[in-house]
C-alpha cells in the first residue's frame, strides 16, 4: 500500500506517451521530485544525511527540521515500475528466497539494492544513515525495515502507530505516539544529524504544511463540479507527489499547491474537464469513486481504459494514504507533537474497515458518483483484505453498483490487460444500462 507518486516519465524513462499535462504546476512538480533525487545522490558533496522512511505517517516536517534528506522506498519502487524495471528486481529478490506471496514493493526494493541501488536519475543512491520505521497502517512495513536493516546495518528507529481498531483515536494512542517521538525518534534524529531538536523550526514547517494542505483539499474537492476539472485518482496522483514525499512543510510545496489551485480554478471557471494523456476529456460519462492503490507497471494503459470510455474518478481513497486532509485534519503548529501523532494515527489505512466504508459512502454521495470501483492489489493486504465486503456495504447503503478488478502495485506479471478491460467495459455498460432503465422507469 502506502505510496507516493511521481512523474512517470522523465529523461531517463521510456516516455511512451506524451505528458499528461503541461501546465506550470506539472513542470514544478517534476522539478521538485527530480531535485530530491539529485540531492539524495549528491550526499558525497552536499554532506547531507539520509533518512529512509515510508509515505504513510511520514514525519517530513520533523526530518527536515534536522536538515536530513528524506528517501522513500515505495517511491523508488514506483519509479522503477513506471520505467519497466521492477519486474526484474522482483524476480531477483524471489531468487534470493523471498516468497512470491509477499508485497512486491519490498521485493522491488530489495532487488534494486542487489542491482546497485541506482536512483531514477541514473546515479547510485547513498546508503541511509537512519531507517525511520513509521509503522503506520501496514504490517509489512515492520518486516520491510528489518530486512533493510539487515542490509544497511544502520541506526533504525521504530515509531509504532496503533491502529484505530474502534475507529477513533484514543488519548492512550496519542500519548504512546508522542512519547515515542520524544524518547525514541527525536533522540535518534539528533544523534544521526548532530543537530539539537528545534521545536520552532518544526512549528514553522508545520505551518507551511497546513497552508499547502488547504490548497490541496480545495483541488481534490473541485471534483464535485460537473464536469470535474480533475481526475481524482490517475491525475491526482501527480498532485500528491510533493505532499506525500519530501516536500510537505516546505515553501516549494506551498507555492506548488497555490499554482495548482489557480490552474484548477481556471478550469472550473471554463467548465473544462480533466486533462488525460489522450487530451482533455470533453464528455464525462461515468463518475467513479475509486478504492485501492493504482497499478504502476501499466499505469497509462490502465488510465486509458477509463478516459477512452469517458470514465473519470471523482474521489479516491488512495490519495489519502499519506494523510487524510479532506476530513478536516491539518498539521497544527501550536501542538506540534500531538498533531504529528494525530496525522499518523489518521492515515487512511490506519482507519478501521467501518470507517473506511463510511468514507467511501460519503464520497459516493458527496461527489454524486455512479459507482464504486475497487482496484484490488495483490501485494497490499492492508488495503485489500475486506474490500469485497466494503463493496457490498457501499452497494447496500448507496444503491450505486460496485465493481472489482485485480492488479498489483509493481509486479508486471499481475496485470492482465484483457481481463481488466473486460471487467471495466462490462461495468461501464452496466451503469449505462441501469441509467437507461431508471430513465424508462421514471418516465413511466
Amino acid at each position: 500500500m502506502s505510496t507516493k507518486i511521481e512523474t512517470p516519465t522523465d529523461s531517463h524513462g521510456s516516455s511512451e506517451i506524451q505528458e499528461p499535462q503541461k501546465d506550470s504546476s506539472m513542470l514544478m512538480q517534476k522539478e521538485m521530485i527530480n531535485s530530491n533525487y539529485d540531492a539524495l545522490t549528491n550526499t558525497a558533496n552536499n554532506g547531507k544525511k539520509v533518512c529512509s522512511t515510508f509515505v504513510p505517517g511520514n514525519l517530513n516536517e520533523l526530518i527536515q527540521s534536522f536538515g536530513l534528506l528524506n528517501n522513500l522506498p515505495e517511491t523508488n519502487a514506483i519509479q522503477n515500475a513506471m520505467r519497466q524495471q521492477s519486474g526484474g528486481m522482483i524476480q531477483t529478490a524471489e531468487r534470493q528466497g523471498h516468497s512470491e506471496d509477499v508485497c512486491t514493493y519490498v521485493k522491488a526494493d530489495i532487488g534494486m539494492m542487489s542491482k546497485g541501488n541506482i536512483a531514477p536519475n541514473g546515479k547510485p543512491m547513498p546508503n541511509p544513515d537512519l531507517l525511520l520505521l513509521s509503522y503506520t497502517g501496514c504490517f509489512t512495513f515492520m518486516k520491510w525495515f528489518e530486512l533493510l536493516r539487515q542490509e544497511y546495518k544502520c541506526e533504525t528507529v521504530m515509531l509504532q502507530v496503533p491502529y484505530q481498531g474502534d475507529g477513533e483515536i484514543t488519548q492512550n494512542m496519542r500519548d504512546f505516539v508522542v512519547k515515542q517521538l520524544k524518547e525514541e525518534v527525536i533522540p535518534a534524529l539528533e544523534r544521526v544529524s548532530g543537530n539539537a531538536f528545534d521545536i520552532d523550526k518544526l512549528r514553522e514547517n508545520m505551518r507551511r504544511s497546513a497552508q499547502a494542505e488547504d490548497d490541496l483539499v480545495w483541488v481534490l474537492e473541485s471534483a464535485k463540479n460537473k464536469p470535474t476539472p480533475i481526475d481524482a485518482y490517475f491525475g491526482a496522483i501527480y498532485y500528491l507527489g510533493p505532499i506525500f514525499t519530501a516536500f510537505r512543510g516546505t515553501q516549494q510545496a506551498v507555492d506548488y499547491y497555490r499554482v495548482l489551485r489557480q490552474e484548477i480554478e481556471q478550469r472550473v471557471k471554463n467548465g473544462q474537464g480533466p486533462i488525460t494523456p489522450g487530451g482533455e476529456m470533453t464528455k464525462e460519462r461515468y463518475r467513479l469513486v475509486m478504492e485501492g492503490p493504482p497499478n504502476w507497471t501499466n499505469f497509462r494503459e490502465f488510465w486509458k481504459m477509463f478516459y477512452e470510455e469517458g470514465a473519470v474518478v471523482v474521489a479516491s481513497t488512495y490519495t489519502k494514504v499519506g494523510g487524510v486532509y479532506d476530513q478536516g485534519f491539518r498539521h497544527d503548529a501550536d501542538n506540534p507533537l500531538e498533531s504529528l501523532a494525530d496525522y499518523c494515527l489518521g492515515c487512511y489505512t490506519n482507519r478501521n474497515l467501518p470507517k473506511r466504508v463510511d468514507m467511501l459512502e460519503k464520497y459516493v454521495k458527496d461527489y454524486e458518483a455512479d459507482g464504486l470501483l475497487i482496484n484490488s492489489i495483490k501485494s497490499c493486504n492492508s488495503f485489500s483484505a475486506g474490500q469485497l465486503m466494503m463493496m457490498q456495504e457501499i452497494e447496500k447503503r448507496t444503491g450505486a453498483p460496485g465493481a472489482f478488478v485485480e492488479t498489483d502495485l509493481v509486479d508486471p506479471r499481475y496485470f492482465s490487460a484483457a481481463n481488466v478491460k473486460n471487467r471495466l467495459e462490462s461495468y461501464f455498460q452496466m451503469i449505462e444500462q441501469r441509467r437507461q432503465g431508471n430513465m424508462i422507469a421514471s418516465a413511466r
Binding site: L388, Q392, E395, P401, G402, F404, E406, Y414, S416, A418, N419, K421, N422, R423, E425, S426, Q429, M430, Q433, R434, G437
Partner: protein, 437 residues
C-alpha cells in the same frame, strides 16, 4: 425481412443467433473459435442464417397440405444432404490444400508418393464422411475439423504403412491445411447448396417426386425471402477483436443477463460456468444487470478444470458427470486449483479412494467455488438460471441443486439445453432494441 443478429465470440466456440423484428429467435449457429475471429464470426452467422431458413421452411411446410413425408422427416433429410454438401466443399478445399503442401513442403518423401497417398486417403475419406450423413447415422461433432480429422488420421495411418512413408508427414500436411480450410470464409449465399441438397435427396431415393416438387416450391419461396442483416451486435471474450464499430459491441455480462431473461423471464440470478470463467449475474425484472461478479484472477474451478481432470484420468469430458453420479461416498476435494488438483487426485487414488467418489468430490468443489462467486454477487434469488458448458453436466447440476437448497432454500433452477446460446441471444435482442426501441 429484417433480421437482428447476435454473435458471441467465446474462447472455445463462437455462437450466433438470428432474431426477427418481433423478438422471436429464428435460428442459431455455432462453430469453433479459430485463429481468424472474423471467419469464426462469419461462419457462426452463416450457420445461424441457415438454421433460420430451415425454421422458415418448417413454418411453410406445416402449412403446405398433401405431403407424404412429415415436416420433421423432410427437414431431417434436407439438413443431412445440406450438411454433406457443405462438408464436401470443405473436403475439396482440404484436398486441394493438402496436395499443394505435399508438393511444396520439402518433405523427405517423394512428392509423387505423397500425392498418391493423399489421393487414396481422400477417396476413402469421402466415402467414410458420406456415411456419417446417411439416415440414422450419428455424428460425434458438428465441426468439420473434428469429423474429418478423426477419419483422416485412421486412413493416413494405413496408407503410410502401405506406401512405406512416415504417417507423421501426412499428419503434418493435414495440420497445416486444416487451419487454412477453416479460415476460408464460407459462401454466404447458401441457396444453391440447399437446392443441390434437395436434388441429392431425390437421387438417393429418399423423397418421392411428388413431395419433391412441393418441397422444392416451398424451399424456393423461403430462399427468395431476403434475410436482411439489419443490425449486428457482438459480445463475448473476443468481442474486442470483432470487426465491428464500438456501438455494436456489448459486454458478455449484459448479453448473458438479457439472454437468460428472454429464456426465463422470472430469472433474477444467472450462474454461467464457462471454459475460462465463472460469472454470477443478478438481473432485474426487465433483464437489466444490476450486479455481477466473475471469478477473480485465479481461474480455479472453471470448466477447464474438469477438462484437465478428464485428461488426468484419461476420460472424455462427457464421461465425468455420469461417473460422478455413481458415487456412494462423500470425498471432499479441497483444491480447485487446476494445477494442484491433479496432485490431490493422485494422492486420493493412492489412498484407495474410488474414482467415482473423487470425481464427485471434484464436481462439488467446482460448485462450491461458484457458490462463493454467487454469494459475492449478491446471493441467489428465485429463479436461478444455470448456463454454460458445465450446465450440461448432470453431476454438477446435482451438486448445485443441493447447495442452493442448503443455502438459499427451495428455488426454481432453470437449465436450457441450448443455454450455450444465451449470450448470443442477448446480443441479438440488443441489436433489435438498437433499431426497434
Amino acid at each position: 425481412m429484417k433480421c437482428f443478429i447476435g454473435i458471441d465470440l467465446g474462447s472455445t466456440t463462437t455462437k450466433s443467433v438470428v432474431m426477427d423484428d418481433t423478438g422471436t429467435p429464428l435460428g442459431h449457429g455455432i462453430t469453433n473459435s479459430r485463429s481468424n475471429y472474423d471467419t469464426a464470426a462469419l461462419v457462426a452467422k452463416t450457420e445461424a442464417l441457415i438454421s433460420a431458413r430451415l425454421v422458415l421452411l418448417r413454418q411453410s411446410l406445416d402449412k403446405a397440405p398433401g405431403l407424404t413425408l412429415s415436416t420433421d422427416d423432410v427437414l431431417y433429410m434436407l439438413e443431412r444432404h445440406f450438411r454433406l454438401a457443405q462438408f464436401l466443399v470443405q473436403l475439396d478445399n482440404l484436398k486441394r490444400l493438402c496436395g499443394e503442401k505435399a508438393v511444396q513442403g520439402n518433405y523427405k518423401e517423394d512428392p509423387a508418393t505423397l500425392t498418391t497417398a493423399l489421393e487414396r486417403t481422400f477417396s476413402a475419406l469421402k466415402i467414410e464422411l458420406s456415411k456419417l450423413f446417411e439416415p440414422g447415422a450419428e455424428r460425434k461433432s458438428d465441426f468439420f475439423r473434428d469429423l474429418a480429422g478423426t477419419v483422416y488420421m485412421e486412413v493416413a495411418e494405413s496408407q503410410a504403412a502401405e506406401l512405406k512413408i512416415s504417417s507423421d508427414t501426412l499428419i503434418n500436411i493435414y495440420d497445416k491445411s486444416i487451419i487454412e480450410v477453416e479460415n476460408i470464409p464460407p459462401q454466404v449465399d447458401m441457396s444453391e447448396t440447399f437446392l443441390v441438397a434437395l436434388d441429392s435427396a431425390l437421387n438417393a431415393g429418399e423423397i418421392q417426386t411428388e413431395d419433391f416438387g412441393k418441397v422444392q416450391a416451398a424451399l424456393k419461396e423461403v430462399l427468395a425471402v431476403e434475410l436482411e442483416e439489419t443490425y449486428v451486435v457482438g459480445t463475448g471474450y473476443g468481442r474486442a477483436r470483432l470487426p465491428f464499430p464500438k456501438e455494436h459491441i456489448r459486454s458478455e455480462i449484459l448479453c448473458h443477463g438479457l439472454g437468460a431473461h428472454l429464456m426465463y423471464p422470472k430469472t433474477r440470478t444467472v450462474l454461467d460456468i464457462g471454459g475460462q470463467d465463472t460469472k454470477g449475474i443478478q438481473v432485474d425484472e426487465s433483464g437489466i444487470v444490476v450486479n455481477f461478479q466473475m471469478n477473480d484472477r485465479c481461474a480455479a474451478g472453471c470448466g477447464r478444470y474438469l477438462g484437465y481432470i478428464a485428461d488426468e484420468m484419461q476420460l472424455g469430458l462427457h464421461e465425468l458427470g455420469p461417473l460422478a453420479m455413481k458415487s456412494t461416498k462423500k470425498v471432499s476435494i479441497n483444491s480447485t486449483c487446476t494445477v494442484f488438483a491433479g496432485a490431490e487426485l493422485r494422492d486420493r487414488l493412492s489412498l484407495g479412494e474410488k474414482r467415482e467418489d473423487i470425481i464427485a468430490g471434484l464436481h462439488r468443489a467446482i460448485i462450491l467455488r461458484s457458490m462463493s462467486i454467487l454469494s459475492r454477487s449478491g446471493g441467489v434469488e428465485d429463479e436461478l438460471t444455470f448456463t454454460g458448458g458445465v450446465a450440461k453436466n448432470e453431476a454438477a447440476v446435482k451438486e448445485l441443486r443441493i447447495l442452493v437448497q442448503e443455502n438459499y432454500g427451495d428455488l426454481k433452477i432453470n437449465i436450457d439445453p441450448d443455454s450455450i446460446y444465451t449470450g448470443a441471444l442477448g446480443a441479438a435482442e440488443f441489436a433489435r432494441r438498437a433499431v426497434e426501441a
